[in-house]
């Protein structure tokens, strides 16, 4: 088995696409400008920002004036949640979310409890699915906001957002979805989804890090999280990151263009990889068998621990992650894996491979062979393995 390098952690961050770099480069070399200024160099910067906004809006079926640039998915989530609490807090103090949200959502929610807000966390089934019936039951007269993610970052499960948002709509409750792992990876249309707010993050689909956006449906009014010079029509202050938003737009446009082909390929490779990995004994797939991100292959191996697996894979040239990158260093295994009902000791043995569109069959086979070897080696060392 010839050593090769396979980056299989695209859900943590993806390499910048050539398209994104080409769109950014002029703004990092011969061009510059503060889009808020009025002279011609600045007007070019303004045009570039507005074209980026229009392209991004277009790719999720929104209007350009519904797209607000942020510094990433985290800011978009914080903004949607904290400012909705501020905006609608007079009507009620109850918010609803799910048990498998990214920390950007769950910690933002958590931060509101000290201000007298009450959070209901909806459970998920063994595939990581939120049940619309559970949402319906959880809604109270004082419920003012609901946030449920579109696609999960650890297990790839895709929620029935249309159904969930429809319920919210019926009760007149603003609905936010964290679509950070979905945008650029599966078709996303804000009208079909019926959401009022939607978060995205550029570096998850081949754009630069440190840029993202919050979609806010026309008519939905939440106060700024960032006060200042009144950029983004007064809703998000701070000098625009011209290179950043151009890179984000170019990456997204490209991702959407190649999506049908890329996803067919990713599905083929994922299936192949799952097939091989599930031949390893005491191994199970996590996430929904069909409603899942095509590039996410997530599994748990009994009797061994995820970080060790990742480190040994690394020595074989494979970059992957165990649970969320953010939770590395924490002692508790991922809340997502616990939420789908895995016992702690099993959840510790998780591996997420998030594949990029350029992955080959050979890469997949190399991952499978390497993982088989690594799992075997760690089990031999494990006091829990009586193999």
């Amino acid at each position: 088995m010839q050593k090769r390098f396979v980056y299989a952690d695209n859900a943590a961050t993806s390499p910048l696409s050539k398209e994104a770099f080409d769109a950014m480069k002029p703004w990092l070399t011969e061009k510059w400008g503060n889009p808020s200024s009025i002279y011609s160099a600045a007007r070019d910067a303004r045009k570039a920002v507005e074209m980026a906004r229009a392209d991004i809006a277009d790719s999720i079926g929104a209007k350009p004036e519904e797209i607000y640039f942020t510094s990433g998915g985290t800011e978009a989530d914080n903004w949607a949640i904290k400012s909705s609490a501020k905006a609608f807090g007079k009507k009620g103090r109850h918010l609803i979310t799910s048990a498998i949200e990214h920390h950007a959502v769950s910690s933002s929610m958590e931060s509101l409890t000290s201000e007298g807000f009450e959070i209901t966390v909806l459970p998920v089934d063994k595939y990581g699915m939120v049940s619309p019936a559970d949402l319906e039951k959880a809604i109270r007269p004082d419920t003012i906001f609901i946030s449920i993610m579109l696609a999960n970052n650890e297990i790839g499960t895709i929620q029935p957002i249309e159904e969930l948002a429809e319920i919210a709509k019926k009760h007149n409750i603003p609905f936010h979805t964290d679509a950070v792992q979905a945008v650029g990876h599966i078709p996303v249309n804000v009208d079909e989804l019926k959401v009022d707010m939607l978060s995205m993050s550029s570096h998850k689909f081949g754009g630069p890090q440190g840029v993202g956006a919050l979609y806010i449906r026309k008519g939905v009014r939440i106060p700024p999280l960032m006060h200042g010079g009144g950029h983004e029509r007064g809703r998000r202050s701070g000098t625009e990151n011209v290179a950043g938003v151009c890179g984000m737009a170019a990456a997204l446009k490209h991702a959407v263009e190649i999506m049908p082909e890329a996803n067919a390929h990713l599905k083929h490779i994922s299936d192949r990889l799952f097939d091989k990995l599930l031949q390893i004994p005491y191994t199970q797939a996590t996430g929904h068998p069909e409603k899942r991100l095509p590039g996410t292959v997530s599994v748990v191996f009994n009797y061994i621990e995820g970080e060790s697996i990742i480190l040994l894979l690394d020595s074989k040239g494979i970059s992957a992650s165990s649970g969320s990158a953010c939770t590395s260093g924490s002692l508790d295994p991922s809340h997502v894996l616990l939420a789908i009902g895995l016992p702690h000791e099993v959840a510790h043995g998780s591996v997420r491979l998030s594949l990029g569109k350029d992955i080959t069959e050979e890469d997949a086979d190399y991952i499978a062979e390497s993982l088989t070897e690594v799992v075997d080696r760690l089990r031999t060392m494990s006091p829990l393995w009586k193999g």
């Binding site: 621990e305 060790s308 480190l311 924490s330 002692l331 006091p383």
Partner: protein, 145 residues
């Protein structure tokens, strides 16, 4: 979170992995729920640790601290081994990230647990000598800290 080269080396090439068939001292510490279990096997002769091996379920630091701990006690007397602190294990590994310090504590405890077992097998109450050892708790209600 970054591991030192030494930690990575001891993780990737762990010393003394495995079991000792005729061990006369075996300790098991940690908790699967928390993601760390260490098992230490020793052969003690004339108060001296003449052989030591380990098995570990856990993260890179758990494996590396186990490995380093076995190196540090091999050939030592029981008394010397009991003086091994988690700090010494960490230092020998050129340090550990703050969130991984508990692994070195576990490694120290694994050594003490094995020695404790050694005394028990001889009908000697280990507690006055070794101190109190946390037994492995298979009850899942334990809190990981």
């Amino acid at each position: 979170m970054m591991y030192s080269d030494k930690v990575l080396d001891h993780f990737q090439n762990p010393r003394n992995v495995g079991e000792i068939e005729d061990a006369n001292a075996v300790g098991l510490v940690g908790n699967a729920k928390c993601g760390d279990i260490m098992q230490m096997f020793m052969k003690i002769e004339d108060d001296k640790i003449v052989d030591v091996k380990f098995k570990t379920f856990g993260c890179g630091a758990a494996v590396a601290t186990s490995s380093m701990a076995t190196e540090l006690v091999l050939g030592k007397t029981i008394d010397e081994a009991l003086q091994l602190t988690n700090r010494a294990v960490m230092e020998a590994l050129d340090g550990l990230p703050p969130v991984k310090v508990h692994c070195s504590v576990l490694a120290e405890q694994a050594i003490r647990a094995a020695i404790s077992d050694y005394y028990k097998r001889q009908g000697i109450d280990p507690e006055p000598i070794v101190g109190k050892i946390e037994e492995v708790d298979h009850d899942h209600e334990i809190a990981c800290d």
